[in-house]
């Protein structure tokens, strides 16, 4: 879990061009969208691509994955859960 969290943070920073931010600065439990990191709908699409590319998880309907996209923690939990199912 810790490793997935760490990796997700690095991948998010890299693919979302969050310059000047280190993985340590991303609060694992803070909201990714709206307040928190201030991500938007394009970032959500990019995170879907991260999940596909690095974890082989395809999300057909982004609305259903809304809870998973709340924070890095929920995202990591989603990754763990959906990987186990495979």
């Amino acid at each position: 879990m810790e490793e997935i969290i760490r990796n997700l943070k690095v991948q998010i920073i890299e693919s979302l061009n969050l310059e000047d931010i280190t993985p340590e600065e991303i609060d694992t439990e803070a909201p990714l969208f709206g307040d928190g990191l201030g991500l938007d709908s394009i970032d959500a699409l990019e995170i879907m691509i991260i999940l596909e590319k690095h974890y082989n998880i395809r999300i057909a309907d982004p609305k259903k994955a809304k809870e998973a996209f709340y924070s890095v923690k929920t995202l990591a939990e989603y990754v763990v859960a959906n990987r186990e199912e495979q």
């Binding site: 693919s15 979302l16 061009n17 969050l18 310059e19 000047d20 990191l37 201030g38 938007d40 709908s41 394009i42 970032d43 699409l45 990019e46 691509i49 982004p62």
Partner: protein, 588 residues
């Protein structure tokens, strides 16, 4: 009494997969035809091999169509009172397969092929390009700068475009369903169209406006305010008031969840949705017949609006069955509706009319009001009705900012000097002049350049005053390369991985730089991006702002609604960068 030249649509030529010209396309729509039902994978409305337009590239199609409409109307492009305005998002971007592609080359090729006295202008304003170009043409005609302007819109669907929209998850695999509860995205479509806009004709372009909702680069406004402002400004220009009968609204209606939602809110803000005792202005979208034809869409759809007015018939929304947008707009369902005397001439009016709108990436919106009078009068003078068109007297002040070669100059004084390499330079300049913004590093380099230039231009005092939105501020920029730098990145990704990144694709439109500037500075006025060859007196010297950009900025300044215009040149490609921004402000 004050008089003014009017702008009319004199003739149209709209070629779509369901009809080779406007009349044929209109008749096919009346019969409910579309090629989307039988479209193969991807559900694209594409020209069939039987069509004369099949496989033709964008530049050639523009030349062919613009030539045809001119010949038919005995207009010659070698006449200096004739201008060609091209509306396109990507032109022949598939040429990237063979290396760099300059969108401005379309203007040069058209000039040579058609023997133009004036270099054709290209408007590249995302999905509002066609309506934008029509608004520009209207202003030029009214100003008396040209007697005849042909607006030609064209885009072709290539892997570049398809893969990008696919990465945005905005494509529907089945025929699209505008405003429907079960809508699930748009269909891309191919088309080409021309409008001959002239100082005489049957359909008057009575009002026109372009706005920005300054909300998000790809997501439409949550409130519909930007589109509402465009409708309001166009109606006020046309009739002096928003409260004037309208026969129908031909909206953008792409059938994406958020676009249609936003449009319903804008129409409701304009007081044109259903209310108690009022059924609301009929609203249609033509995307169910021909898909979303991008840079051609505004032109094709204005041509078909003219046909609907001419025949007194409002087309239904193909694919619509169950109302599925938040506000109760009156979507035209199932069958064509006649424009009856009850809701038009019978009310004592001598005309029928419609509003055509479009909205696009970069937060842009546009609206035109088209009017057909019962007995067309062909005189070209009118009493000046709306206040939007009135010349505003003013005392103008000017500021000039230049970013190039590692230097930033303000009104001739060196403001900042950094490394000449773009990446470290813009980073230092951003840190020195801009307040921290998480979004900055996500922008492509063209947007970073424009963003920093605009931030410097709005000085501290002005920024404080600008806490409120700026409907009175317009931006008009140009370059020769369009968004080529991001285009190349997007194309490389498709070639190497077969997929696209939405965060890259969104920047493959030059007007995104206008969007980023508008979002940050809350600018909600006109925003237009032109593509034109670079004017560079000597090698190594800075390019010049083209004269037509200055001229257009000053046409905008004459509008009462405009207090200041930022205009200039903004170009980035492969570490070559140059931003020359001028600000003209009315001190009165």
């Amino acid at each position: 009494m004050e008089y003014k030249i009017k702008a009319y649509i004199k003739d149209t030529l709209a070629a779509t997969p369901i009809g080779e010209d406007t009349e044929a396309t209109f008749n096919a729509m009346l019969a409910g035809k579309s090629v989307l039902e039988n479209a193969s994978e991807g559900c694209i409305s594409a020209f069939s091999p039987q069509s004369r337009w099949y496989g033709m590239n964008t530049g050639d199609m523009v030349i062919e169509m613009a030539g045809e409409i001119a010949r038919k109307n005995s207009i010659d492009y070698s006449d200096p009172s004739v201008l060609l305005i091209i509306s396109t998002t990507k032109g022949d971007i598939k040429e990237l397969e063979n290396g760099e592609y300059l969108l401005s080359s379309m203007a040069v090729s058209a000039k040579e092929a058609l023997g133009c006295a004036n270099l054709p202008l290209i408007v590249s304003n995302a999905c509002i390009s066609g309506v934008s170009a029509t608004v520009v043409a209207k202003r030029y005609i009214e100003k008396g700068l040209y007697k005849n302007i042909v607006v030609a819109g064209c885009d072709r669907i290539s892997d570049f475009i398809y893969t990008g929209f696919d990465s945005f998850k905005s494509l529907s695999a089945t025929p699209c369903r505008p405003y429907d509860a079960n809508r699930c995205g748009l269909n891309l479509g191919e088309a080409g169209a021309c409008l001959l806009i002239s100082s005489e004709g049957d359909i008057e372009i009575k009002g026109g406006a372009i706005t920005n909702d300054a909300n998000h680069i790809s997501g439409p406004s949550r409130t519909g305010d930007g589109l509402f402002y465009a409708i309001e400004e166009a109606m006020v220009e046309a009739y002096g008031t928003l409260d004037h009968p309208v026969e129908f609204i031909n909206a953008h209606g792409t059938a994406t969840l958020y676009n249609d939602e936003m449009e319903s809110k804008a129409i409701a803000l304009a007081g044109m949705a259903a209310e108690e005792g009022k059924e609301g202005v009929p609203v249609n979208s033509l995307k169910g017949y021909i898909g979303h034809t991008l840079g051609a869409s505004g032109v094709v759809e204005i041509a078909l609006c003219a046909k609907q007015l001419e025949h007194g018939v409002i087309l239904p929304v193909k694919g619509f069955s169950e109302h599925g947008v938040p506000m109760p707009i009156n979507v035209v369902k199932d069958s064509p509706v006649g424009i009856t005397s009850k809701n038009s001439y019978g009310e004592g009016r001598n005309h029928i009319n419609c509003i055509k709108t479009a909205s696009g990436f970069g937060g842009c919106n546009a609206a035109v009001v088209l009017e057909k009078t019962r007995e067309p009068k062909r005189e070209n003078l009118k009493e000046n009705a709306g206040n939007g068109g009135k010349d505003a007297a003013g005392e103008y002040s000017y500021k000039k900012y230049i970013i190039a070669d590692g230097r930033i100059e303000a009104n001739g004084n060196l403001l900042f000097q950094g490394p000449s390499d773009f990446a470290p330079f813009i980073r230092e300049a951003y840190k020195k002049f801009c307040s921290p913004n998480m979004k900055f590093y996500k922008m492509d380099d063209l947007c970073k350049l424009g963003y920093v230039a605009a931030s410097i231009l709005f000085d501290e005092k002005d920024m404080a005053a600008g806490a409120a939105e700026r409907r009175d501020t317009a931006i008009v920029l140009a370059n020769e390369v369009s968004s080529l730098d991001s285009d190349m990145k997007h194309w490389e990704a498709i070639k190497n991985n077969g997929t696209a990144s939405p965060a890259v694709f969104v920047y493959t439109l030059p007007n995104l730089v206008l969007g980023e500037i508008c979002i940050h500075n809350k600018i909600k006025g006109e925003n237009t991006f032109f593509i034109t060859p670079r004017i560079q007196p000597e090698r190594g010297e800075l390019p010049q702002i083209p004269d037509f950009i200055k001229e257009y900025a000053h046409i905008l300044m004459e509008r009462k609604s405009t207090k200041r215009v930022i205009y200039g040149w903004c170009s980035y490609y492969d570490n070559q960068y140059c931003a020359i921004f001028e600000l003209v402000e009315n001190l009165n």
